[in-house]
């Protein structure tokens, strides 16, 4: 249906999304947003995988995306649990305040 888009575009698109995610991780202090940025990075990868999957006409790329989703879900579950625990103890989820372990 939609031929004619160079794979490069997809690579670039996902790279851009990926980097936006990374920048978000670096630039934000709210742990939840950082988490979301990581999700964004994963999605960039998903997109890339699907593009390659189509490129190679190979379903395994898409299957791999399933696994990423599963892992992402698991990670989010655990992550949010830890986050809420941190919030309970620290009364904040500002990552810059979570720096007692250092040097």
């Amino acid at each position: 249906m939609l031929n004619g888009i160079p794979i490069n575009f997809y690579i670039m698109l996902s790279a851009v999304l990926f980097i936006i995610g990374a920048v978000g991780v670096m630039a934000r202090r709210n742990a939840i947003i950082i988490f979301m940025c990581i999700e964004l990075m994963l999605n960039a990868v998903n997109l890339l995988l699907v593009a390659f999957s189509t490129l190679h006409n190979d379903a395994s790329g898409q299957v791999f995306v399933f696994f990423i989703m599963a892992v992402a879900a698991a990670e989010v579950a655990v992550g949010l649990a830890i986050l809420s625990m941190v919030y309970r103890n620290f009364k904040t989820i500002d990552i810059d305040l979570l720096s007692r372990l250092k040097n």
């Binding site: 990868v45 390659f52 941190v86 979570l98």
Partner: protein, 463 residues
């Protein structure tokens, strides 16, 4: 293969233990189970064709993976003895289950044959570790450790996945063997984003083995986590990560080593310098061990860098991870008991231990000597193998650097010894130790020395 299943089953069993009320029985069951896994693992030795057809080459236990699984299982066995009283707290079954699940991940990392299993293995290993690191729920340090580990681990996973995606894009497959043959058929005619993918996978793996500059998480997480969990991280997790690293970069990406070897060399150099130098001014033994684990990682990476075809590197890594794991377990056992009594894991906590508890101190000395790489301990041969594989390459300068930094390394290992034998204890707190821990120390110490005297059995595995 069967070991993997046994451990998975054990995990599920542990999970169910609370429901079906056999908590008390669980500990022996787990120990026996791990031994059983080890035995089955051992029995599969030499049958190289296991499971290829069964799982579409997703996972494949050959001798190498069996050997690494063996190391992991032995360490796990020791670790469970160490963690004995750690499990006397709440959520015992959960802890069991998590550790066992992590073990499943670790075993997968020794045997994966597909990017999918690699990724899953890493995550199965990591996610329980995030939880375990944070498992002291009201301890702020533990919270922070778990949190940092989680964020940074996920971030690194992102890079891993991006790398995998790029490699998939270039080769059209997740299957490692396919990728390998693709590389060898391409004759260097590969799109540059393939190399970018390799490098991103490299970065992610470097993160997992905590090599500079991707090591930042390690000291904090090691320090913040409960001591037994730190022991787990610095042994099993590390071994598994190296097993994976090695398979990826010696077996699969060995063909394109020119693209990553220089990067790796620089990373090793940086790790050696940063870890050893930083470790010098640590006040906490636990944190010092974290930095030391970075420097050991650098040593193992040197073996990967050497990338020799005749199993030299694999032998070296196998031996190194075994030596390092056993030594670490011993060190952490002592540290655990000392810090439990003194409520501190600083060097001062060790003051006067040589007088108060000569046995423990002696075992700690052996462990430290082993970590410092002094004959006739296992650590020495570990370093020796690394040197001997690397000396044939063009990276001899790394050896010089390694020696220089090793000398620095001796400084902080010996700080413990000096504290134990030279410094006087200020406030006397009786350090007691359970019989099981005494047994564990005896075992690990003997093991360390035995490995140092007769390393044959380990290093001749692949010859």
């Amino acid at each position: 293969m069967k070991g993997l299943f046994i451990i998975s089953a054990l995990g599920i069993l542990a999970m169910l233990a609370e429901i079906f009320k056999f908590k008390k029985l669980l500990y022996p069951i787990v120990l026996v189970g791990i031994l059983a896994a080890y035995v089955t693992n051992f029995m599969e030795w030499g049958q190289n064709n296991m499971s290829i057809t069964m799982f579409n080459n997703m996972i494949h236990f050959n001798d190498m993976s069996l050997a690494f699984s063996g190391v992991i299982l032995i360490t796990a066995f020791f670790w469970f003895i160490l963690a004995n009283d750690y499990f006397e707290q709440d959520h015992v079954t959960d802890h069991f289950a998590l550790v066992l699940f992590a073990l499943v991940g670790a075993l997968m990392l020794t045997s994966f044959r597909n990017m999918t299993t690699l990724f899953l293995g890493i995550e199965i290993l990591s996610i329980p570790m995030y939880v375990l690191a944070a498992s002291r729920k009201r301890d702020l340090a533990s919270n922070e450790a778990g949190f940092k580990y989680l964020i940074m681990g996920s971030f690194a996973s992102g890079f891993l996945l991006f790398g995998i995606a790029l490699i998939y894009g270039a080769t059209g497959s997740f299957d490692l063997m396919t990728i390998r043959s693709f590389i060898s058929h391409a004759n260097g005619d590969l799109p540059s984003f393939f190399y970018a993918g390799v490098l991103m996978v490299l970065v992610a793996m470097l993160f997992k083995v905590s090599a500079a500059p991707f090591h930042f998480w390690a000291p904090d997480v090691y320090e913040g986590s409960p001591t037994v969990i730190t022991a787990l991280m610095s042994t099993i997790v590390k071994t598994a990560a190296f097993a994976a690293f090695m398979q990826l970069f010696i077996i699969i990406f060995g063909g394109v080593s020119q693209s990553w070897s220089m990067v790796l060399a620089v990373v090793i150099a940086l790790s050696l310098v940063v870890s050893n130098i930083t470790a010098v001014s640590q006040q906490s033994v636990k944190r010092m061990l974290a930095y030391s684990s970075i420097s050991h990682a650098a040593f193992m990476l040197m073996a990967i860098l050497a990338n020799t075809r005749n199993f030299g590197s694999i032998n070296a890594i196998l031996y190194y991870s075994l030596a390092y794991s056993i030594g670490s377990i011993a060190a952490f056992t002592v540290l655990y008991n000392v810090s439990k009594a003194k409520n501190s894991s600083n060097f001062e906590a060790f003051n006067g231990l040589g007088k108060r508890h000569p046995f423990m101190a002696a075992c700690m000395v052996i462990a430290m000597l082993s970590l410092a790489g002094i004959p006739i301990t296992a650590g020495f041969f570990a370093k020796y193998f690394v040197f001997s594989v690397l000396i044939g390459t063009s990276f001899k300068w790394l050896i010089i650097l390694a020696i220089l930094t090793s000398a620095v390394g001796v400084y902080y290992y010996f700080k413990v010894i000096i504290a134990m034998y030279f410094k006087e204890e200020e406030i006397h707190e009786e350090v007691t130790m359970e019989t099981s821990h005494v047994l564990l120390l005896v075992l690990t110490t003997l093991f360390t020395i035995a490995l140092g005297i007769v390393p044959n059995y380990v290093i001749e595995i692949f010859s």
